[in-house]
Amino acid sequence: MAGPPVLALRSVSKRFGAVQALTEVELDVAAGEVVALVGDNGAGKSTLVKAIAGVNQPDEGVIEWEGRPVVIHRPQDAQHLGVATVYQDLALCDNLDVVGNLFLGRELRRFGVLNEVGMERRSRELLDTLSIRIPSVRIPIASLSGGQRQVVAIARALIGEPKIVILDEPTAALGVEQTAQVLDLVERLRDRGLGVILVSHNMADVMAVSDRVAVLRLGRNNGVFDVRYTNQQEIISAITGATDNAVTRRQSRGQEGVS
């Protein structure tokens, strides 16, 4: 399976006023691995994602990148490290075409001028290799369907050649066929050796594409499950807290083994 973690969170905590949003959360993501991040509303998923993406900084704890501790102050810092985030609202510019959106913020230039031809060619190549079907790369984003926008947003994350891609609820607003397309795309990202953090509410999606499932509950780790050895019920129990804390349960199991 996956090698050493590209990204690792060590005992990360975050407070917002009187709310302890994250408490000593641990998370490892290796190259070529899809880690699903699940939890109930308010479990701290978004806060964790924002900490990795540099939107806000953790109060305590360390973020390690390829084994080295790093500090991510701004979204740009995360991008420079190689973290690409696809937010739920996609943040595409409706008035720009697909090429313009894919390369927004990192336009190719030629003699100081936009290299439209080069960007269009690379856009087509990228979309082709990802088997993304859109009518034309010169069509404004406004005329694409929800699923097409989602895959364009994900493709955009890949332009910067990241090592970790964070997908925030990528299938939340999509129909059956479009969801299938996005999940296919997630698998292709893994095949390309990217680490993927998949934030999702949809257990079927999570079980279908992820390698491991990290459960957050009330801002704390509540178990990390290998999808090969778990089932939907176990994860849902961890999410809702229907069982006693899965981490403690595993720990106690381990201790029994030792003794």
């Binding site: 595409l92 927004l104 913020g105 936009l114 290799t129 079907r133 010169r138």
Partner: protein, 440 residues
């Protein structure tokens, strides 16, 4: 981070790679099932003129009107005034018109930039008067070198933009309010600078007056400019098409390029012919066109221009793409105010003075109206510097025609107001249609 050297991420063989080497029985990777990435539901434009017309019709019906309404309006206006009074379409009147629109048009170019952000600048009138006053006071009253005075006026404009931009982008005051305050404040500063005399007459020999009043009377000047313009357009189109073909991306068919070049040549040479019938090519018009072309290039072909459009489309998206939102906003307000300064200098040259009424009256509304009438959207993200030319032509034509007819200001204001309203209605309706057709 230079893009061309990027390795292609995780190279997946394209269809031609796998087929050529291993023959028919080559195992086809799974990903290939979906290639080619063309959606069967897509309406593909056919090659040739008929396809071009079909595309044109489709765009019209989906609300992408572009500059079509304003061109039609211009034709109607010219036809009406031309039929009412034949002197309207005389070479003399049209030549004068081409000079008179420059002041308003220059300011409108700046307004286009601000409108692209989806913001508004209500101070452009006052700023144009202020900068004209700065030039006049330095040049005439204090006898400063006229180039220094010219630069000072432009820098003054840029500073105004910097201040207003800072309040808008950094403090977060709505642009509407900042520039409304500016409209009053800069007007006051202008009155202060002009002092008790109130009016400063330009010498007529100064650089600004000469930039405005110089007319190249040699026939070759106008025709040469038209020829150079058309040739540059043709060469640029052909080079672009060749690069696109070489890179294997869709390019404009030759017939399309020919059609556009011929259309441009007809307009350019008709204009040159008309100008030559009177005095020749006004330098002011040439400068105006150069500003339009250069700034159009900045907007469409540079990273900066792309950022301006992105901000007009989705501010949050632009911010997450790493665009420095504050700086881009501030710089756009600086461009707008600087263009207001440029326009103010031309307007001062036109009346040969900087006075207490400079930049007042309906100048502000005319400039914003020109940008909007020309087809730049009030909602941000759509527009072009060419709309400044088209809009200024519409407004200038109405004023000129009314003056010839001897109609009062009262009628002029009402008609210009109605045209502006019509332009905004068209903008709103086309946006609605585009939304319905999934294009906005």
């Amino acid at each position: 981070m230079n893009g061309d050297d990027h390795r292609e991420p995780g190279h997946v063989p394209l269809p031609e790679d796998s087929m050529s080497r291993d023959g028919v029985n080559a195992p086809v990777p799974v990903a290939h099932d979906a290639i080619p990435a063309v959606d069967p539901r897509l309406i593909v434009r056919q090659e040739g003129i008929s396809g071009y017309l079909g595309e044109f019709k489709r765009r019209l019906s989906s609300g992408e009107l572009g500059s079509l309404p304003v061109v039609l309006a211009l034709i109607v206006i010219w036809a009406v005034f031309g039929s009412l009074d034949s002197s309207f379409l005389s070479a003399q009147n049209l030549s004068n018109l081409s000079q008179q629109i420059v002041g308003t048009g220059m300011i409108a170019i700046g307004v286009v930039f601000v409108l692209l952000l989806g913001e508004i600048d209500l101070s452009v009138g006052s700023v144009s008067g202020l900068c004209a006053a700065i030039f006049a006071v330095l040049d005439v009253t204090h006898g400063v070198n006229q180039w220094v005075a010219l630069v000072a006026a432009l820098v003054g404009g840029a500073l105004v933009g910097l201040i207003q931009g800072l309040f808008f982008a950094k403090v977060g005051v709505p642009a509407f309010v900042v520039t409304l305050a500016g409209n009053l404040g800069w007007n006051g500063l202008m009155l202060q600078i002009l002092g008790s005399s109130g009016t400063i007459n330009l010498s007529g020999n100064d650089i600004v007056s000469r930039l405005y009043s110089t007319i190249y009377s040699k026939t070759i000047a106008a025709y040469g400019t038209a020829a150079i313009g058309v040739a540059l357009f043709l060469v640029a189109s052909l080079l672009d098409a060749r690069r696109r073909r070489a890179a294997g991306v869709p390019s404009r068919p030759p017939a399309d390029i020919a059609l556009r070049t011929v259309a441009l040549a007809v307009v350019a040479f008709a204009a040159a012919y008309t100008l030559n019938q009177y005095k020749g090519l006004p330098l002011a018009l040439l400068i105006f066109l150069i500003f339009i072309v250069v700034l159009d290039f900045v907007l469409r072909r540079t990273t900066y221009g792309r950022q301006v459009f992105a901000l007009g489309g989705n501010i949050e998206g632009a911010r997450r793409a790493g665009i420095n939102v504050s700086w881009t906003r501030i710089s756009v307000f600086m461009i707008c105010s600087t263009m207001a300064a440029v326009g103010g200098l031309f307007l001062a040259a036109q009346i040969q003075s900087a006075s207490q009424t400079s930049g007042g009256g309906n100048l502000l509304m005319n400039c914003i109206a020109a940008a909007v009438i020309g087809g730049t959207s009030l909602f941000g993200g759509r527009g072009s510097t060419w709309s400044a030319l088209l809009g200024a032509l519409v407004i200038g034509s109405i004023q000129s025609g009314m003056n010839i007819m001897g109609l009062s200001n009262a009628i002029q204001f009402m008609i210009t107001g109605a045209v502006l309203l019509a332009a905004v209605v068209i903008d709103s309706l086309s946006r609605k249609t585009q939304k319905a057709a999934g294009r906005a």
